[in-house]
Amino acid sequence: MSEATNFFSKAGGSAEVAARFADLHPPFEKTAAVIEAQRCLYCFDAPCMGACPTHIDVPKFIKKIASGNLEGSARTILDANILGASCSRACPVQVLCEGACVMHRYNKQPIEIGRLQRFAMDALHASGDPLPFTPGADTGKKVVLIGGGPASLACAAELRRRGVRAVIFDARPLPGGLNTYGIAEYKLPLAESLREIDMLAQLGVEFHFDTMVDAAKLAELEASYDAVFLGMGLGAIHKLGVVGEELEGVTNALDFIAGYKSGAIVKAPAKVAVIGAGNTAIDAANAAVRLGASEVHMVYRRGSRDMSAFGFEYEHAQKEGVRFLWHVTPVKVVGEKKVEALELARFESTEDGSLVPTEGLHILLEVDLVVLAIGQATHAEFVNADASKVRLERGRIVIDRETGQTSNPKIFAGGDCTNGGREVVDAVADGKRAGIGIAVWLEGAASSPTHGDRAVMNGAPGGIAGRGELDADA
């Protein structure tokens, strides 16, 4: 049966690590929050709301901060985004709400939407009040959700609000997926992710941990539930495919980040090389610096202009003291028992954009730890182990963007396993749409589907199709 929840108390972690990963964006003090909130112009059909994948009504929650209605502010946020607290910390707001703020064209000072959202959510958490929602009247339906990350959590919340049982299976011992284990601690501490999920559990979301769902298990679950939501994210980080990769001292960014966040890793060795130049690579490199490494290099086969990390993440890494080796690629991990150095070949870009190794110009970089961050593999093939149950494309599950429904009507999906790896907020938006989609589909399966229900959901014109590239440049 479902396990008891009080995930926050299980956060663990090390005080020393916590001290080294203080908030990158510290919380607003109350007066400062109100002053900032009063700066908001209260745009109509605000661009910030439009840019948010979950369409949080930003001016509405900000004006509630200004008016002192913090309870209403939190409810406004959560109504659109049940993970509003972690999104307020983890979102790349510079390219989302804050990037869309009209203030860029006014006084060049966008409203600090992310920090204001955190202020409202922190106030809710501090109040000790429960989520401002109640489960819907029981429909007698139940849905199983594979993976306990943001997509499944958002989907589960929508289902519970509509009176549908939501049962989550997760391979790890704690819920939240990458929200709990994969976000840089100075943005979203593991404990904060758990605190938020504790609130969600109040809606009656059920959890099963340490359970790996394979093809057989999926078939079994599918048979006993009314619908299935696939939210298991992506798989392992790609291998380099070079000699010496199996040596001790070679790890990957997800394990490294999850390790320090959960307290298993409290220190980095002196010399660290991170392979890759995506946002995850930067998180790993910054973490290595904060964990005590004296020399952290990021190794990337192209130049800074081609890196797949956001510009502000690159700037942040530079400030942390990370060094960059451009136009090089590892050709060998050197070491006896454990890694001692990386052998790098220099790359040159040709006119057509392809990369050509430069003969004879190998570099030997002394390192104690190599962290791979060259993108995650997909992890959806098991879904189709017995038959072509669900349509995949390049390893990603194909869904109807508006409902999350796959080619199999009973199976819905969202998050990284469908988009190839985007942000927490994208997963939440997917999960939310799928939760509504499932509830409507279940209702239609119970009675006869009405045109009206579809109209409610599908009334929108086509949105922007996601391109779904991987986080890191694989």
Binding site: P47, A100, P110, F310, I464
Partner: protein
């Protein structure tokens, strides 16, 4: 070079900035510091029979982070003995002979009591007397202050008593808590007053503590209506000053009061006829030092406009104020949104739809909102266009929240909503339906960007015609 020196009702002034009778002029020490800071005159906190004040006394209205947009007090006249005030007044005049010191007076409505107080004030060296017929709280319950100012006959009688005795100019301070301020002004003039000052504070309750349900300012759980002043009352004061100054039976040298804190405020009062201005709330907020920019800014404006003295521009806007019936009905302006300045906040759009005439639309992108929307707005029958033939704000909003967007991938997804673009997307720049626009100004008032929405004159081809003329023409046609 322009000068701020002026003469008001025969009183020579170094500049037209006086402190109003209020806490900033409570004692001689304060007034001397104010003169040091640059104030040209001070009206002493009203002198009369010594009172006892309550605690607390003030409350205010903040607006969107700005403190004290409006200010309220339940303080009475001076709580110091008259002899102390008058002794200090003599000292101030001895040390600052060129600065103006006016004695504000309020005593029992008896002829001999007023005569005695006038004598004592003038003996102390006051350059003039201001009769406080305006204080709206406390004193009025004792038959003084606004209890006098609200009854033109009392106003006339007491002004007359004062004029029997006074050797210095007599200024009558008017209360705004009356239906027509011209009536007490005319009464004062009939009685021989030399000048007027307007306005005193307005009856007010600034607010209620939503925890205790007790109004402010709180005196042991209770409150009493107070007198309202500060920036919020300036428009009311300007109107009353104009009403008096446009009335030949009331107009006298006018000391403008009400929400003045800047040189612009002062200039506006003067353009409506005020010879000098009095300031209180702004000084209570920021201190005497504010007078420096009031003078500096006013002189710069006078230089720019070519005025050498205050008399050169005093009252110049009075002819531009007239009764509504004398406004040109054939004058027409329409809003123009300057796309190069528009930041896309769409406040004009929502204001026009909800607060004006539904003539600003979001239909500049081809295929976006051009067609009349077959509405799902419950206000209108399904599949019928709403009366405006354009999407309602609710429909625009509903469409936005249904649009699927994702976080941009660096280098691949350009021009997304979050691209902090310096250029406003065309679809966010509203369009004015100039045929429907009535020229109300609302959009230009809510627009946060200077000169983004301007009101442009449209040639109507019609000769000017006022309502009065239209009625007269219609009558002459009938005749």
């Amino acid at each position: 070079m322009p000068t701020l020196e002026t003469t008001f009702a025969g009183i020579k002034c170094l500049n037209p900035f006086w402190l109003a009778s209020a806490p900033p002029t409570n004692c001689g020490e304060q007034i001397m510091r104010a003169f040091d800071a640059g104030w040209g005159g001070a009206v002493w906190k009203t002198i009369g029979e010594q009172v006892t004040n309550v605690s607390s006394r003030y409350s205010s209205i903040d607006y969107n982070g700005q403190k004290m947009m409006g200010f309220n007090n339940i303080e009475l006249i001076s709580d110091r003995p008259p002899e102390v005030n008058l002794r200090e007044m003599a000292e101030v005049k001895r040390r600052y002979p060129k600065h103006v010191v006016i004695a504000s007076l309020m005593v029992e409505s008896k002829r001999d009591v007023w005569h005695e107080m006038v004598q004592r004030a003038e003996d102390a060296g006051a350059d003039g007397l201001e009769l406080n017929f305006g204080c709206p709280h406390g004193m009025s319950e004792r038959g003084m202050g606004s209890a006098v100012g609200q009854v033109p006959e009392y106003c006339e009688q007491i002004t007359g008593w004062v004029k029997e005795k006074a050797r210095t100019p007599v200024i009558v301070k008017l209360t705004p808590n009356i239906s027509d301020i011209r009536m007490p002004a005319r009464a004062a003039r009939r009685a021989g007053a030399d000048a007027l000052s307007a306005i005193n504070t307005i009856n007010s309750i600034t607010g209620i503590d939503l925890e205790t349900l007790e109004p402010w300012p709180n005196v042991d759980g209770k409150s009493s209506h107070g007198g309202y002043c500060g920036p919020a009352v300036k428009p009311i004061a300007l109107n009353m000053v104009q009403q008096v100054m446009s009335d030949p039976m009331a107009a006298l040298p006018m000391s403008g009061i009400g929400g003045i804190g800047s040189w612009q405020d002062a200039a506006e009062f003067m353009l409506l006829g005020a010879g000098i201005v009095q300031v209180c709330t702004a000084v209570m907020h920021y201190g005497y030092r504010i007078v420096e920019d009031m003078g500096d800014g006013l002189l710069a404006w006078m230089r720019r406009k070519g005025y050498d003295t205050i008399e050169d521009f005093r009252g110049l806007s009075l002819p531009n104020m007239r009764d509504w019936k004398h406004l040109n009905l054939n004058y027409r302006v329409v809003a123009e949104i300057h796309a190069d300045k528009c930041i896309g906040c769409q406040l004009c759009y929502t204001a026009c739809w909800d607060g004006a005439h539904q003539c600003i639309h979001l239909d500049r992108v081809e295929g976006g909102m051009e067609q009349p929307v077959l509405g799902t707005d419950p206000r209108y029958a399904q599949h019928e266009a709403n009366p405006h033939g354009k999407p309602t704000p609710a429909q625009v909003f509903a469409q936005s929240v249904k649009t699927i967007v994702t976080t941009p991938i660096p280098k691949l997804d350009l021009d997304g909503e979050g691209s902090n673009s310096a250029v406003t997307p065309l679809r966010r720049i509203p369009r004015v339906d100039v045929d429907e626009c009535v020229g109300c100004n609302l959009c230009s008032l809510v627009c946060p960007v200077p000169e983004c929405i301007t009101m442009e004159r449209v040639a109507t081809g019609e000769t000017p015609e006022t309502w009065a003329e239209r009625v007269a023409n219609a009558e002459s046609l009938r005749a």
